[in-house]
Amino acid sequence: MNRPCPHSDLLNPYMDGELPEEKRRFVEDHLESCLACADEFQNLRKLRDLLMDCEEVSVSPDFDRLFWKKVDAFEEKKLKNAFRRWLGKNWRLGFAPVFATAVLLIGTTFVKDTRTMMGRETMFFDQMELFQDFDVVNNLDLLEDVSGDGDLEGL
């Protein structure tokens, strides 16, 4: 069994460009004379070639749409959380819309009742006017004349 060369641990960082200049030159010289390291280095390069000979990866058409949907959901949640935090700090102000709604409801009910009552009176007076109109129409001489003669051509 071949014993590994004591310098073989320099091969990986040498290939990765991680050695300082002095060591890099040492490895280059060493590879000229050490068959074991030269073989090992060839294998490392072959492995790199194998890894590089890989497929291109395509992105599915829905990727962007799904991502931006997640961003929108995050923004919505952030907004809700911000409102909750604001409400936590300004809870008195939070009652303002509730109070305003209550006032509005009470006010609306009150106005509605008043209008209903006023509405009834208005109807009564409207009907009185109708009766009056009806009387006037009934007492029109012109219509009596027409019905009496049965002849509308003279009009």
Binding site: D9, D39, K46, L50, E55, V59, F63
Partner: protein, 191 residues
């Protein structure tokens, strides 16, 4: 710490410029998906994790403080997301998608004058490489992927995996040794 243009874009986004985030998203989308894909060889998982990564970047927006190159930072997020996913029980029960075309985002590299037989051999070889990569422990896999495909230095990989440069060097060495064993048929009997 770098002052690359991506950092400037992220700072613009931190100040409320959403178009800067869109530019970063477009610049890194494929890189991150490809990285995640090579971690799992599963398109569904890769895209799910990638979305998680970009959402984290988006959420980090206003609180972003540059401490490293932007690419180092975003790949750190991606690496941690991949390692977390690896730890999750559900992944172990997934159907192995590498042997089937379903769930695969991989496209064959466009025709390079190979015959049908050569193309099939290439495809089989890539599958073996993918399976060999997936057989590596998470940290070794991450270190190798970050080194080979993204070209990060040992120092940057150390920042991403929260370990020393010496530990990264050791991870990469062991990762390559394990890959050579897993791909012994490619290296012959000597190695």
């Amino acid at each position: 710490m770098g002052t690359d243009s991506d950092i400037e874009l992220m700072i613009r986004f931190a100040k409320g410029d959403e178009s800067a985030f869109r530019m970063l998203y477009m610049a890194y989308r494929n890189k991150i998906i490809t990285y995640c894909y090579r971690f799992f060889y599963d398109q569904g998982v890769a895209e799910e994790i990638s979305q998680e990564v970009f959402l984290k970047v988006y959420k980090a927006g206003s609180g972003y403080r540059p401490t490293a190159r932007f690419s180092t930072w975003i790949f750190t997020i991606a690496t941690h997301a991949c390692l977390n996913e690896l730890r999750r029980e559900k992944y172990r029960h997934r159907v192995d998608s590498i042997d089937s075309e379903e769930g695969s985002a991989a496209r064959d590299i466009p025709d390079r004058g190979e015959s049908a037989h050569e193309r099939m051999e290439s495809r089989e070889r890539r599958k073996r490489v993918g399976a060999a990569l997936r057989s590596l422990p998470g940290n070794q896999r991450a270190a190798l992927l970050l080194r080979e495909y993204q070209g990060f230095s040992y120092k940057e990989i150390g920042e991403q995996l929260n370990m020393s440069e010496a530990a990264v060097k050791s991870l990469i060495f062991r990762g390559r040794e394990n890959l050579k064993i897993a791909l012994y048929s490619e290296f012959g009997e000597d190695s």
